[in-house]
């Protein structure tokens, strides 16, 4: 007669940050060229550009949010601008390409934030006996994460009926772009941007509160 262990011991899942990309940052020239190619209609260039910018923005966002920084503020525009300055060779790029860069950056920021929100909302967390409580912070954080996830979903539904207006919200809310920049990216007038924003926002508000009513 012997005792068996019933199943495997359960170990708590713990969130660990994604490993840093060990590859060195591509040269500004390379990225500038990709941006240029993409502006000229080469879709393959975007496929190469996307992961590079993603990695850079993710790395920077992480640094911005790290505990070493006292203020914990993360300003999207400043962030994207910094990425732009780091990644793109200023001397050899047309100003329109800057708008393009901001355009894809907004999309990437959205993906980064939504990835984080999803991971955050679905990660279980526990606390040790003498652990100093982060309860309140956790409650707020979880609320924000789920809120952002539902907004993302609503924005996808909006894209199905009105892709341009959905894009305006993406550029402004996730990319931190101002109306003029959005106008440049989408090649529409700033006034149209304002009108698009108003309608899209009203629709999203209704969509998000509507399920309750």
């Amino acid at each position: 007669m012997v005792l068996h262990l019933a199943g495997q011991a359960l170990t708590a899942k713990r969130f660990s940050p994604a490993p840093m990309n060990k590859e060195s940052t591509p040269s500004p020239h390379e990225i500038t060229q990709l941006l240029e190619d993409w502006s000229n209609g080469n879709q393959a260039a975007l496929d190469k550009l996307y992961p590079l910018v993603y990695e850079e923005l993710r790395r920077m966002a992480r640094r911005y949010m790290s505990r070493e920084r006292k203020d914990h503020t993360l300003q999207t525009t400043a962030l994207i601008n910094e990425a732009y300055l780091r990644l793109v060779d200023q001397k050899h790029v047309h100003w329109q390409n800057r708008a393009h860069f901001f355009g894809i950056s907004a999309q990437i920021m959205r993906r980064i934030l939504i990835d984080h929100a999803r991971r955050y909302a679905y990660t279980k967390r526990g606390a040790g006996a003498q652990r100093i409580s982060l309860d309140e912070a956790a409650v707020v954080a979880k609320g924000r994460a789920t809120e952002l996830l539902s907004l993302d979903e609503a924005l996808n539904s909006l894209a199905e009926i009105d892709p341009r207006r959905s894009r305006v919200v993406e550029l402004r809310f996730f990319g931190g772009l101002d109306n003029d920049e959005i106008a440049a990216v989408l090649k529409i007038s700033p006034n149209t941007v304002i009108r698009d924003w108003n309608l899209a926002r009203a629709w999203l508000y209704q969509e998000l509160s509507g399920s309750v009513v």
Binding site: A9, A129, Q130, S133, L148, G176, Y205
Partner: protein
């Protein structure tokens, strides 16, 4: 929605918005004509537009909205990183395992190898340690705090540096925080008792001119062994403060803002006094406010001040009167206690209790009065005052049970140990029997054991109990329960051994398997790599589950399952050698005939002097006691 329809809606909506607000309604009505549905759609959108404006819906960028979880995620990643490994030594402290982490750095359970006692070792974060001025202020405060000698204050043993690590060694409290305690059932007597002990701690500290500054349920521990309340981190709040002296208004505001940043490691502002929230100079009365908040929360089940965000909470602290405890509490609160809490929560420090002693005196006389009331009630109707019984339906309403008779000691007042409760309730089929125990069975209470002075002669003692999870058709049924004594173990049943170490020592648990070539084959159940950090060293008042986070099941063979418990003052060389076999892969089977023989010899030699076995029927646990330095005990589980 059809594209044409959406086009129609958006055009009317945008044209309407271009008009003055009072013209919009008429315009929409006119545009939509007989199409009622269209009008409703547009009206709803316009209304959503206004509401969205009012509520600043998606007005701030996503990154700002995301900051709380990004920061929190980052903090968690930071917190889960360990600076020290088990078995590592810091000065003369041997790291056993990590207890937690927070704003004050990481906390480890460690063994003081010089004085042979358990300590909690706090490792200060590098950023704090590198701030020389802050460290100097902190050292001074820590030195003063280490002089505090009061049973309700966690003693600071040492503040020192080893290599580049700055650490604080304090008394280790094995128990739960008040926060965790409040998740269970609390009685009025419990609350008053905890409050009194917190204030006794504060009284002693304030006498020594030390202000805690961060009284909150997370900083109050309730020791498992005897339910004594221990206030943590006296003098440590200075560490998290960045400046001293008076601050200008902007500085004060910044300070508060830093502290209230969502997700910042400070955690909560709920217990901050108004003067603290304003960044003003604080004195001992700030602790009395925070204690008032804690007592209020214990009574009401929620914080007196709580907004959606930290800044809302701060506004409430400064301006709002909390909801009266007369109607908002989860139990009936005596008027006198309402008065005490409300006095502690006076916004103006001058109107508050001026000293912890005054508040302590009021609470003590309240306790005496309630005890007397309870006594009168008891003598009036003896049958109604049965000991308070836990209501498992989660109803916490109107519990005013006073558990201690007048003049009762602290030991008597401790709440019953919380039992592990799992919410599956079904009928059980309990059949036969047999837990064979040693000879001497007598009764006494755990409290008596726990509080007894260390014996002059060497003696080993240990408590254990067995948890059973019944199974039927491969599914657990009924909540797991402590084995009261006799049960027939069905093959599917899951069991777990719980051990409470009443002293520090080296623990080994083995299962004696069937004979193989005339020799029993042993299976190592403890130590195992997944429990207690793989170590056999168990510190005083530690409760271990074997296996940790899992269960044992029986094999299909009937007979007696033999479990061996060995608890020794010193590491047992012969048994330390079995550790290597305790892997999940090898199922703990000692596949070495020589080692099996050594183990058998050791057990045979040391089980000659059998421990006294005392079965506590009330707690459903067994106490083992033997003179000398090695305790060996055999548990037999009859299994059909």
């Amino acid at each position: 929605m059809k594209p044409e329809r959406w086009q129609q809606i958006s055009e009317i909506f945008e044209s309407a918005l271009a008009l003055e607000p009072d013209e919009r309604l008429a315009y929409v009505e006119q545009e939509c004509g007989a199409d009622e549905a269209l009008r409703r759609e547009v009206d709803r959108l316009i209304e959503s537009h206004h509401k969205g404006n009012e509520e600043n819906f998606i007005a701030s960028p996503a990154t700002e909205r995301a900051a709380p979880f990004l920061v929190h995620e980052d903090n968690e990643a930071e917190l889960s990183r360990n600076r020290l490994e088990e078995g590592q030594k810091v000065s003369h402290y041997l790291i056993i395992r990590k207890l937690g982490a927070g704003g004050m750095g990481e906390v480890y359970l460690a063994q003081d190898t010089q004085l042979d006692r358990a300590v909690a070792l706090k490792i200060l974060p590098a950023e704090v340690a590198s701030d020389k001025r802050r460290m100097q202020r902190f050292k001074q405060e820590a030195r003063m705090a280490s002089a505090l000698n009061q049973p309700n204050i966690v003693t600071i043993f040492e503040f020192n540096q080893a290599d580049s690590l700055h650490f604080i060694a304090t008394e280790y409290v094995d128990g739960e925080t008040l926060r965790q305690h409040l998740r269970g059932r609390v009685t009025m007597a419990d609350i008053i008792d905890i409050s009194i002990q917190i204030l006794a701690a504060l009284d002693a500290a304030h006498e020594a001119k030390i202000v805690h500054r961060d009284i909150k349920p997370e900083n109050v521990m309730i020791r498992r062994r005897d339910r004594v309340v221990k206030v943590l981190d006296f003098g440590l709040a200075k560490l998290t403060e960045k400046k001293t002296g008076a601050l200008s208004d902007t500085e004060a505001a910044t300070e508060v803002l830093v502290k209230t940043m969502p997700g910042s490691l400070m955690g909560t502002v709920n217990y901050m006094s108004p003067e603290q929230a304003q960044g003003l100079t604080v004195d001992n009365r700030t602790d009395l406010w925070s204690t008032g908040v804690v007592i209020y929360e214990m009574l009401a089940g929620r914080s007196p001040f709580g907004g959606a965000t930290s800044s809302h909470t701060v506004v409430e602290i400064l301006e709002k009167e909390p909801r009266s405890l007369a109607d908002g509490a989860r139990m009936k609160v005596p008027a006198e206690l309402q008065r005490i809490v409300s006095k502690a929560l006076s916004k103006n420090p001058d109107e508050r209790y001026q000293t912890a002693k005054d508040m302590l005196i009021d609470l003590r006389s309240l306790r005496r009065r309630l005890d007397v009331d309870a006594e009168i009630e008891r003598s009036a109707s003896p049958e109604t005052v049965a000991p308070s019984v836990s209501t498992d339906n989660g109803d916490r309403g109107n519990e005013t049970a006073i558990q201690s008779p007048a003049g009762g000691t602290q030991e008597e007042q401790r709440a019953p140990r919380k039992r592990v409760v799992v919410g599956v309730l079904l009928t059980a089929m309990v059949v036969v029997v047999a837990l064979a125990f040693g000879v001497n069975v007598w009764r006494s209470s755990r409290a008596k054991l726990a509080s007894s002075a260390p014996a002059a002669v060497a003696e080993r003692q240990l408590n254990y109990w067995i948890m059973v999870q019944k199974y039927k058709d491969d599914k657990p049924y009924q909540a797991p329960f402590r084995l009261a004594g006799e049960i027939n173990f069905e093959p599917q049943y899951h069991i777990r051994l719980h051990v409470l170490s009443l002293q520090s020592g080296y623990l080994y648990v083995l299962n004696e398997g069937p004979l193989e070539k005339g020799l029993p084959q042993f299976i190592v159940l403890f130590p195992s790599p997944t429990a207690n950090g793989g170590s056999s060293l168990v510190l005083e008042s530690n409760e271990l589950q074997i296996p940790e986070e899992s269960w044992f099941t029986f094999d299909n063979e009937q007979g007696t399952e033999k479990l061996w418990l060995v608890f020794s003052a010193n590491a047992v060389t012969q048994l330390e050698a079995v550790k290597g076999f305790a892997t999940a892969k090898g199922k703990g089977v000692i596949r070495d005939p020589d080692l099996n023989r050594t183990v058998q010899e050791f057990l045979a030699t040391h089980s000659v002097s059998k421990p006294a076995v005392e079965k506590n029927n009330e707690q459903k646990e067994t106490n083992l006691k033997v003179p000398g330095t090695v305790l060996v005990h055999q548990i037999d589980l009859e299994h059909h």
